[in-house]
């Protein structure tokens, strides 16, 4: 499932990072950075509204919905045969060959988590501190039968959340620990760019 675009929106709705990958760059060439700002703030408000209008039924039987996202091994990690798995951990302040290895519960209990259309699928990962990571992937889910789609949907969602949590880990390393970055401002760090490119390339 190829990731086409990555957006990061801060807790007040401002766009702090957006990047297109692969051939998406041409497709979205006509979108100016201003358009992206608009997209980001509309997404922010959609997420907020969707949080409010969750159907009563969903809210009532809250506890039997399982919000744990299983760990999908190797999402965004270089395949094991890659040449330079030097002994030095390449994961900054994270030890081992992957950012995390266990399943985790999603903080996003009632808002929008995934939007799949016939053009693209959008995954949203929101943190406790209000930071929103949005990945738009070009892979479109086959619509053949009910059972099939819901299973694919679930897998895609898991991969999406695993991927975005890893982006969150990279963000916490290369943006939060960068002395020249001030909070809520757009991210200018090349280290972060490089790591995200690597991650997206490996998800292909």
């Amino acid at each position: 499932m190829a990731i086409e675009t990555l957006l990061i929106v801060n807790k007040s709705g401002g766009l702090i990072y957006h990047r297109n990958f692969g051939e998406a760059c041409e497709k979205r060439k006509k979108l100016t950075s201003n358009d992206y700002l608009i997209i980001a703030s509309t997404l922010h408000s959609i997420l907020a509204i969707s949080g409010q209008i969750t159907p009563r039924a969903l809210k009532l039987n809250q506890d039997d919905i399982d919000y744990t996202i299983p760990y999908v091994p190797g999402v965004g990690m270089p395949s094991s045969d890659s040449s330079n798995n030097s002994k030095m951990s390449k994961l900054g302040s994270f030890k081992g060959d992957d950012y995390f290895k266990e399943s985790f519960t999603s903080w996003n209990k009632s808002g929008l988590r995934q939007l799949s259309t016939d053009q693209f699928t959008m995954f949203v990962y929101q943190t406790l501190t209000g930071l929103k990571f949005i990945a738009i992937s070009s892979s479109v889910l086959p619509k053949n039968n009910e059972m099939e789609t819901s299973k694919n949907l679930n897998l895609a969602n898991q991969i999406g959340d695993n991927f975005l949590r890893k982006i969150y880990c990279i963000y916490s390393d290369y943006v939060m620990k960068d002395p020249l970055y001030s909070l809520e401002m757009p991210i200018k760090s090349e280290n972060f760019d490089k790591k995200v490119q690597e991650m997206v390339y490996n998800v292909q």
């Binding site: 330079n84 030097s86 030095m88 900054g92 302040s93 390393d173 290369y174 620990k177 960068d178 002395p179 020249l180 200018k188 760090s189 090349e190 280290n191």
Partner: protein, 300 residues
């Protein structure tokens, strides 16, 4: 002009500046100290704690965040890049000069007698009441700690975290290790000796691995280079000020060498190669006086 380099007349009594119990350079050597009799019980921690390495670790994130705050603090205070680098250099210098003494002293403690640190059971009793406990000893080979059974051990009050299989946490006690050292480590007199010490012991102390290379430059004989393929402290910093932040590490090396009477200048240079693009070369330029001494004394 900061106040502390005003020469105070010896009669001034701003006692907080110069407590009258310890050594007072304006009065010279005293043959006995008033404190022995007086009941002032100065809280002391550093003279009670042991110098033996306790091999404790913190997460790299905490160090990275602290380093980040130091960079921000210095960056906002200094108007030019040079001033910013100078500040990092002087701070690293402080750490380097301390580590020179600490690491050399620790390498004088051979592992065998570090496991039986003797408690300085001083005969006279008017020691300020240190908590008389012997340090729970740990031998460097096996992980578990063997607690000596001598009688001086009183219950371990401070650290109650379970010492499962990591080394025993060293409790604070009054211990001195110096009397168990029968041969202090040699003072390094030659350039190569002290650089080997930096390449090996200092780097493993700081980053758990020896530095990636120690090279003598071919063109000028007063230049040596220490190579670090991926510097740990500045890995999260972006290229615009990354190299300036490496001056902190240069300060540590500089402090280490200058205090050992090897006057030099240390500068960081980023020289990426194909498999390590964060590679940093610390160029050490020794003063001519050091080379002269080297030729005069050790050219035999």
């Amino acid at each position: 002009m900061s106040t502390d380099n005003i020469i105070y007349p010896s009669t001034s009594d701003d006692s907080f500046k110069r407590p009258n119990h310890g050594y007072d350079y304006t009065k010279g050597a005293k043959s006995h100290t008033t404190i022995e009799s007086s009941s002032i019980n100065y809280p002391t921690k550093i003279y009670n704690d042991s110098l033996v390495a306790n091999r404790k670790e913190v997460s790299l994130s905490s160090m990275a965040f602290l380093f980040q705050q130091m960079i921000i603090h210095f960056h906002k205070d200094s108007k030019t890049v040079h001033e910013f680098e100078e500040k990092l250099l002087t701070n690293g210098f402080q750490i380097g000069s301390k580590l020179l003494e600490l690491l050399n002293f620790r390498s004088s403690i051979n592992p065998t007698n570090s496991s039986r640190t003797s408690t300085f059971l001083s005969s006279n009793t008017n020691l300020p009441t240190p908590k008389m406990q012997s340090q729970t000893s740990y031998d460097t080979t096996s992980g578990n700690s063997s607690i000596p059974s001598n009688n001086a051990v009183i219950s371990k009050t401070t650290t109650q975290n379970t010492i499962s299989n990591q080394e025993a946490a060293s409790t604070s006690h009054y211990s001195s290790i110096a009397n168990t050292i029968n041969k202090m480590k040699r003072r390094d007199l030659k350039i190569l000796d002290i650089l080997q010490f930096i390449h090996g012991t200092l780097w493993s102390y700081l980053f758990n691995h020896v530095s990636d290379d120690l090279v003598k430059s071919s063109e000028r004989n007063n230049e040596y280079m220490i190579i670090d393929n991926n510097p740990v402290l500045t890995q999260f910093i972006n290229n615009n000020i990354k190299n300036s932040c490496n001056y902190f590490m240069c300060g540590i090396i500089n402090g280490f060498l200058n205090n050992a009477a090897f006057i030099c200048k240390v500068t960081p240079h980023r020289m990426p190669t194909e498999n390590s693009d964060e590679r940093i070369v610390y160029l050490i330029k020794f003063d001519s006086q050091v080379l002269e001494r080297e030729n005069l004394r050790f050219s035999s």
